[in-house]
């Protein structure tokens, strides 16, 4: 059993961690094609359709983290409509751990700041094309 702490998971752009994240998620889904007919005995029948996914990340705003991908880098990716090389993986991989790699676009970037509260960001990347998994060896 190798259950691990979710803190270890991160989103990387060009192999570099998105800075000051507090939460991240990878969401995959598949559309289905309905092929239900009168012969289906009252049960829906499906064919597999298009697979797609998105990666989301949220955290605290830092405009000047030169070492990692900060909010400035995220805005540049949005402004330039850059196709980003994304990775979703554990910080300290051990044998058998999976990392997921794909290309994606930053389709949503939200920044907010409440009174007497931390300034936060939220980013969503829509995956374009295939997502591949690699097991650490």
């Amino acid at each position: 059993m190798a259950i691990f702490n979710g803190t270890e998971l991160g989103v990387y752009i060009d192999s570099t961690l998105i800075a000051a994240a507090t939460d991240c998620s990878l969401s995959l889904s598949m559309e289905t094609i309905d092929i239900t007919t009168k012969d289906s005995a009252g049960w829906r029948e499906l064919l597999a359709g298009t697979r797609s996914g998105s990666i989301s990340c949220s955290g605290l705003i830092d405009y000047t983290d030169a070492s990692n991908k900060d909010t400035t880098d995220l805005f540049a990716a949005f402004e330039n409509r850059t196709a980003l090389s994304l990775t979703f993986e554990k910080a300290n991989e051990v044998t058998g751990d999976l990392s997921f790699a794909c290309t994606g676009f930053l389709t949503s970037l939200e920044q907010s700041g409440g009174t007497e509260d931390t300034a936060t960001y939220s980013a969503t990347f829509e995956i374009s094309g295939v997502i591949t998994d690699t097991a650490a060896s």
Binding site: Y12, S15, A66, S67, A91
Partner: protein, 55 residues
């Protein structure tokens, strides 16, 4: 994983200076290690620094 950059590095759209401590993927850390960005610069040995031969 967190790494310490030992010499200025421009790779994968990054622009790190010596001493930066980015968190990178395990695979990329290996690449940085292979390319020598994570090793302390090799000090010149005494033989190398006395290369100039005097006549």
């Amino acid at each position: 994983m967190k790494v310490t950059i030992q010499k200025a590095c421009k790779l994968h759209g990054n622009n790190w200076k010596k001493g930066d401590t980015p968190t990178v993927t395990t695979a990329f850390a290996e690449k940085l290690k292979k390319k020598g960005y994570l090793d302390a610069p090799k000090k010149k040995t005494e033989d190398e620094s006395n290369d100039i031969t005097e006549e």
